[in-house]
């Protein structure tokens, strides 16, 4: 029970918010808008899964937003050139893996601190994209939206795909050796090394994996509308890291699960529509988001002080 306390408490908070909405703003629960909301958040969930792995292995990657933007624009341009969707998907995942590998080499290979490396790649990618694109939208060819399916067909496909990926990753993290290695490296690198794991390779692969997932997420975003805006990934890293932290993954590494991340993401994604339904002014959004992050973190800290458990 106490092992999953953190995840359960986030889920509990989410349920409280949902109940509150049911009482004060029942209009929130209409099927089509909810479906649209969840589909919009699906790409973020994918990236959050990848980020959770990175944070569990005691690293961080704040360049995912810029990666998302770059991959989105590249994929859009390829699609506009007439490439079939399957190839565009492969290209997106490939570019993402490549960008992740750059981070991975610098962090795992050279031992550089991940916050600074990914800060540098964040700035470089964002400014490089601005230089080339100057903010101009990429118009996608017809028939690309929703994979060419109907709107609800496409939305359900994306949702189910996201949940399947979440399920696979969640299960894999616990039950596949590679997943457990990530926890090991995050808890204690030396012990992991002595146990026969190669921490540097593990760290490198975790960044590559995050990059690949970001590429996949960018594709999932691409098929949801007929245009790509280069600015679109802006702020993604904050959203994702917030979801991961609120979901119970410890920034000091070695702890956390994807289910908590899922709950954390849903909780944070509810804020904006909840404000609209509850008729609260928009300028409270950032303050509320910051307060939730702090509350989650403080709750962590208080609990670990009392329980004496390593947070």
């Amino acid at each position: 029970m106490s092992r999953y306390f953190r995840e359960l408490s986030v889920a509990g908070a989410l349920i409280v918010v949902l109940l509150g909405l049911a009482v004060f703003a029942p209009a929130f629960y209409q099927p089509q808008p909810l479906l649209s909301l969840l589909t919009r958040e699906a790409p973020t969930l994918i990236v959050a899964c990848g980020m959770a792995l990175v944070i569990i292995s005691r690293q961080i990657d704040i360049s995912v937003g810029s990666q998302f933007s770059v991959i989105g624009v590249c994929a859009g341009l390829l699609a506009a050139k007439g490439w079939p969707l399957g190839f565009v998907l492969l290209a997106a995942v490939g570019i993402g893996a490549l960008l992740g590998a750059v981070n991975g080499v610098l962090v795992a290979g050279l031992g550089l601190p991940s916050i600074v490396v990914t800060l540098a790649t964040l700035v470089t990618l964002r400014q490089g994209l601005n230089l080339v694109r100057q903010g101009e939208f990429v118009n996608l060819p017809d028939g690309l939206q929703w994979f060419g399916l109907s709107q609800s067909g496409g939305q359900w496909t994306l949702l189910i795909a996201a949940l399947v990926i979440l399920g696979l990753l969640g299960w894999g993290l616990r039950h596949v050796a590679a997943g457990r290695f990530v926890y090991a490296v995050g808890s204690d690198t030396e012990a992991a090394r002595l146990a026969g794991i190669r921490p540097q390779l593990c760290t490198f692969l975790v960044f590559v994996f995050l990059g690949a997932l970001t590429g996949l997420a960018a594709m999932m975003n691409l098929v949801q509308s007929p245009q790509v805006q280069p600015l679109s990934g802006s702020g993604l890293e904050l959203k994702v890291i917030a979801a991961v932290v609120v979901g119970g993954v410890a920034i000091s590494g070695g702890r956390g699960s994807l289910w908590g991340v899922f709950a954390g993401l849903l909780l944070l994604a509810c804020i904006a529509p909840a404000l609209i339904h509850l008729r609260i002014e928009a300028y409270w959004e950032k303050a509320i988001q910051g307060a939730i992050i702090l509350l989650a973190v403080v709750a962590d800290g208080v609990r670990s002080r009392r329980g004496g458990a390593k947070s």
């Binding site: 961080i60 610098l106 050279l110 031992g111 550089l112 601190p113 916050i115 600074v116 490396v117 800060l119 540098a120 790649t121 964040l122 700035v123 470089t124 964002r126 400014q127 490089g128 601005n130 230089l131 904050l238 890291i241 917030a242 932290v245 920034i251 000091s252 002014e281 928009a282 300028y283 409270w284 959004e285 950032k286 303050a287 509320i288 988001q289 910051g290 307060a291 992050i293 702090l294 973190v297 403080v298 962590d300 800290g301 208080v302 670990s304 002080r305 947070s311």
Partner: protein
Amino acid sequence: MKRDWKALLLRHETILLLVLIAEWVFFYYAGTSTNRRGVVVGFGTLDRQFDILRHSCEIGLLALALTPVIITAGIDLSVASLLGLCAILFGKFWHDAGLPIPVAIALTLVLGGLAGALNGTLITKLRLPPLIVTLGTYSLFRGLAEAITRGAVTYTDFPAGFLFLGQERWLGLPTQAWIFFAAAIAIWLLVHRTTFGRSFRAIGYSPEGARYAGLPVERRVALVYVLAGVIAAVAAIIYTARLGQAKADAGLGYELFAITAVVLGGTSIFGGAGSVHGTLLGVAAIAVLKNGLATLPVVMRMNAAEEMAGLLTGALLLVALTSSVIPKLLARWHTRPHVTVSPTLKPKSTA
């Protein structure tokens, strides 16, 4: 004697100084020219150098604030958001509460310190990771600034006496430069010449060891964040004076440049090592780069001053990081264990 010179030359700060001189010389020659009116314009003018100085004061102050924090192996992502919040509070104190400017400034500094204390308390009392706490306050402070002003209110029409701080010169240099220099000297003395400041490095290197050595680790770490908060408030005052307006988006994005300057200057993000003069060199290097690029005709033709500056700063950061790690890698390479496998058992011989 010879070895001392070599060590001095290879120190991070020396290399950074050389890079700074090199880029300054480069921009001097490539970015200065005579325009149609026969006036010498561009990088090489005194006006331009003062502009560089003026613009780097705020980020410089934030970088100064971050240096002790990072030396203690912490980090503070919220300094720029705090700048925004303090700017708004200052505007509110002066405009809505009608307080005289000096009182408003003093009150803002106190509130900046309190905000820093929030960070410090959460980090030391609850043993929370600085990255996450300051990620939360990064949102919270900016959010409060937006909520207080409902995003809309902008405070302007400050008296000329106040604007003097940000827009005019005093004794030949831009006014805010004097404030920045004073702060720089104070922080340098604190970090390098007081036992208090020297303990930062010990705390960053090994908090447990420092605790056993009798240092009040929690108190010092908390104070470092309070200091960062106060300096952010000073930067907010200067920002408002320079622009003549206090808005909720003041200082948006500055934390990236401040952290870059600190790391560029040789302070390790892992804590335990670093110098204030390194940070100052880092701030100078970035400021010269940003402003110098804008004076190059080729960059102007590409309409790309900001992007080029961002790209090159990112690249510079990566190069600096990589080069700082090379000596360690070389050392590891040189002392790698040599393993020889021989087919027959040889009698053991001493190396």
